[in-house]
């Protein structure tokens, strides 16, 4: 084949490729629907329920019960990877190709703004849910611009796990309510022979989403805010500096062990379970695991939980949890709505709580005798959630959390001064949230 013919064929193939590449329609939807009421959801039939890995096995049982009652509207569970980031990736990809493969989405509380603004989930009719019976902060995370886009199903708040046995031996009768009290209690414990080499306090300080939670809590517990009520960032304040300094000084003085800066949830849990920490800021899931009597935990029965401490009084937790939403591209949205109603009914939430120990979103379940006997930390958890502040409700949440992590990690590792870190963060957040 001559050189000329070869070149011609190559050019033809390249041209074909360019044309094909240009054929993809990638312009997004232009206008948004600015009508007042929520659009009516229709379509009954089989749907898919998309959620991260269910370690309890209870979800399948609940879905089976629904399937028995609704043979024409069967629900299939589509399990996504365990990591929250991966779940988001899959749901976003599904939305980008406008696929109807996903119907009900199990969203993390911080994704509501992004999914709503990009119109990947549909508005839900507020009046069809008895939202007054749900925890108010949880409902708040499911709304965007005053419209309901998801229904809260699981909630989460921070708890301070503390070694009751060590505190009692050191003569501290009440768990600390302020950072100074926690510091004093630590010193007393470390003076004991059993307290030698035991770290004082740890949370989640590695450079990931957990750091955003801990940083926000530190700032909020000192009386500051990350993003204010008006949606505008305000971190360059004295309160925020006090909050960040609690973490920075803790690492400098050794109250927070050096290794603490590599802790995610699991590393911290292992340290607490090995008896290496007196105080540990952690989510409720640690309760069951740290109380395990199979030998994995050295602190079974020796600890209790309390609300997290703050600068001058009890601290303010960051709100965690999950909401269920309906994909905008799904076919049988009405079935999805009914399924969400079923999953958030009192009966179902109670069974879920008993099986998984994940905090429910219905307020009255926290007083139910049966569950409180099984999970004594529930009243503390309810107080924590009711006072909790959500993370910034921003469409570009990925960038916001990256900026927060950059500031917090930099300050805690001594790369930036607290003042510098916060003022840089303020300018970055202003840029990201400007309308």
């Amino acid at each position: 084949m001559s050189a000329g013919a070869r070149a011609r064929t190559a050019a033809l193939l390249a041209a074909a490729a360019v044309v094909l590449a240009g054929c993809g329609d990638d312009s997004g939807s232009g206008s948004g629907d600015s009508s007042g009421a929520a659009p009516k959801l229709d379509g009954h039939g089989p749907i898919t329920f998309v959620t991260g890995k269910d370690t309890s096995g209870n979800m399948q049982k609940l879905v089976d019960k629904w399937n028995t009652d609704h043979p024409d509207e069967k629900v299939t569970i589509t399990e996504l990877p365990e990591a929250a980031d991966e779940q988001r990736n899959q749901m976003v990809q599904n939305a980008q190709v406008k696929s109807d493969a996903y119907t009900v989405l199990n969203l993390d509380v911080v994704w509501t703004a992004e999914f709503a603004a990009n119109q990947w989930v549909v508005e839900l009719p507020k009046d069809e849910f008895d939202l007054d019976n749900f925890l108010k902060p949880a409902v708040d995370t499911a709304t965007y611009f005053d419209k309901l886009y998801a229904v809260p199903v699981y909630s989460d708040g921070a708890l301070l796990y503390y070694r009751k046995d060590l505190l009692t031996k050191a003569g501290v009768t009440e768990p600390p309510k302020t950072w100074d009290e926690m510091s004093d209690a630590c010193k007393k414990v470390q003076a004991l022979p059993e307290g030698k080499g035991v770290g004082c306090y740890a949370g989640q300080f590695d450079k990931y989403e957990g750091l955003t939670c801990n940083f926000s809590e530190a700032i909020q517990s000192a009386g500051g805010v990350v993003v204010g009520e008006d949606g505008k960032p305000n971190v360059n304040t004295q309160e925020a500096k006090d909050g960040l300094n609690f973490l920075v000084d803790g690492l400098k003085s050794g109250e927070i062990p050096k290794a603490g800066v590599t802790y995610k949830e699991e590393e911290g849990r292992r340290a607490f379970q090995d008896g290496k920490l007196v105080f540990h800021r952690q989510w409720p899931y640690q309760w069951n695991l740290a109380n395990a009597t199979d030998g994995t935990s050295k602190v079974a029965g020796k600890f209790d939980v309390a609300p997290i401490p703050g600068k001058d009084g009890p601290g303010v937790s960051t709100l965690g949890g999950h909401n269920f939403a309906i994909s905008a591209f799904a076919k049988n949205k009405a079935t999805g709505l009914d399924f969400i109603k079923y999953f958030t009914s009192e009966e179902t939430e109670k069974s879920n709580l008993l099986a998984t120990s994940q905090a429910p979103t219905r307020a009255n379940l926290y007083e139910d005798q049966e569950v409180v006997t099984k999970f004594p930390y529930l009243p503390t958890l309810k107080a924590s959630i009711e006072g909790a502040v959500p993370r910034p409700k921003v469409v570009k949440y990925g960038d916001v959390t990256a900026a927060i992590q950059e500031a917090a990690y930099g300050a805690m590792n001594g790369e930036k001064s607290t003042d510098q870190a916060l003022s840089d963060l303020q300018s970055k957040l202003e840029e990201l949230t400007k309308k």
Binding site: M1, A17, A113, K207, K258, A259, V395, N413
Partner: protein
């Protein structure tokens, strides 16, 4: 040896044997070309095209809905990479990428050649030695990254074994680079070893015997016989590894974590942009990385003579020329008088 020639057509028309073979060959190869174009060329061109667009991220202040749509911005995405704060981050990741490539591949080559020599000369348990050397290569990288993360934890086995104060491997600093290098070379030195082993096995024993007779010691035999003769295989292995490490992503991402300046690589930057749905800038980073890899590969092939298909192609060209020259006198002879 000439190519088998069909008897030339009577009267000597235009379709002589080599050209008919050529057309048939083209026809048979077209499906392959189509698949290659679809799998390699199309994504490449689509990515370059994507890098010329930027997603409109503005939010309507009244409804809160993203305005959306892609806008053609030309080379703006590329300009954004090389200017301002992003430039510092880009050049840092460029340096990290180059650091991992240079030192990673150097260590892998040394270890790989050593492994190849061991595998080649192993007399007892040859199968077991070879299998155990190849196990790291068989483990998926993301899994090995998780395993090494376990080892490099604050209370992990690495800190237990090493004397002195515990090193926080996953925090910022040179130790993070060391951790990535260790995990990477552990996994890929066997690959280099495998390719070099193939090169070692074609070296005839007589060469070594002759050298021994001439009085060369082990080191001289290695340096003056083994290495030069294994050079083609070694260069191919190095080229593969260089191109792989330039694109390194999963190890620093899983082992150390994202957005850690000590180990951030260019592919991680592209991934972060894509994760935030900014596919234009992501494609721009990817294209820049592609150009970097392409330039290095070109340098390797041209200057260092890594002959992936070079010799083979030259052989076919020479054979073809020979076949043509042989066919011409036949034609002249076959013309009916």
């Amino acid at each position: 040896m000439t190519a088998p020639a069909l008897p030339p057509a009577a009267g000597g028309n235009a379709t002589t044997s080599p050209q008919r073979h050529g057309r048939l060959a083209l026809l048979l190869l077209t499906p392959t070309f189509v698949v290659l174009a679809l799998v390699i060329l199309y994504p490449l061109i689509a990515a370059v095209r994507e890098s010329l667009y930027l997603k409109q991220e503005g939010v309507d202040p009244e409804t809160g809905i993203v305005i959306g749509g892609d806008k053609f911005v030309g080379a703006d995405n590329y300009a954004a990479i090389f200017s301002g704060e992003t430039a510092t981050r880009f050049w840092n990741s460029f340096y990290n990428t180059t650091f991992f490539t240079v030192f990673g591949v150097a260590i892998e080559v040394v270890l790989g050649v050593a492994m190849a020599l061991v595998m080649h000369h192993a007399l007892r348990g040859r199968g077991l030695v070879r299998a155990s050397i190849l196990v790291p290569w068989a483990v998926p990288t993301a899994m090995s990254a998780l395993l090494w993360q376990w080892i490099f934890q604050a209370e992990g086995i690495a800190n237990v074994i090493l004397p002195g104060e515990a090193v926080l491997w996953t925090t910022e600093g040179f130790h993070a680079k060391v951790a990535v290098l260790i995990a990477d070379t552990w996994k890929t030195a066997p690959f280099v070893g495998l390719l070099v082993l193939a090169g070692l096995q074609v070296i005839p024993n007589e060469v070594y015997e002759a050298a021994r007779v001439d009085g060369a010691n082990a080191w001289a035999r290695f340096w003056r016989i083994t290495l030069p003769l294994v050079k083609p295989a070694l260069l191919v292995a190095i080229l593969f590894r260089v191109m792989d490490v330039l694109r390194i992503f999963d190890l620093p991402y899983v082992l150390i974590g994202e957005r850690k300046q000590s180990v951030e690589t260019v592919s991680m930057l592209a991934f972060e942009q894509a994760r935030n749905l900014r596919y234009g800038p992501a494609a721009a980073y990817a294209t820049v990385l592609f150009l970097y890899v392409a330039i290095i590969a070109y340098v390797f092939v041209k200057l260092l003579g890594a002959d992936l298909i070079g010799e083979a192609r030259e052989r076919t060209r020479a054979e073809r020329r020979k076949a043509k020259r042989a066919a011409e006198p036949e034609q002249k002879e076959a013309v009916p008088v």
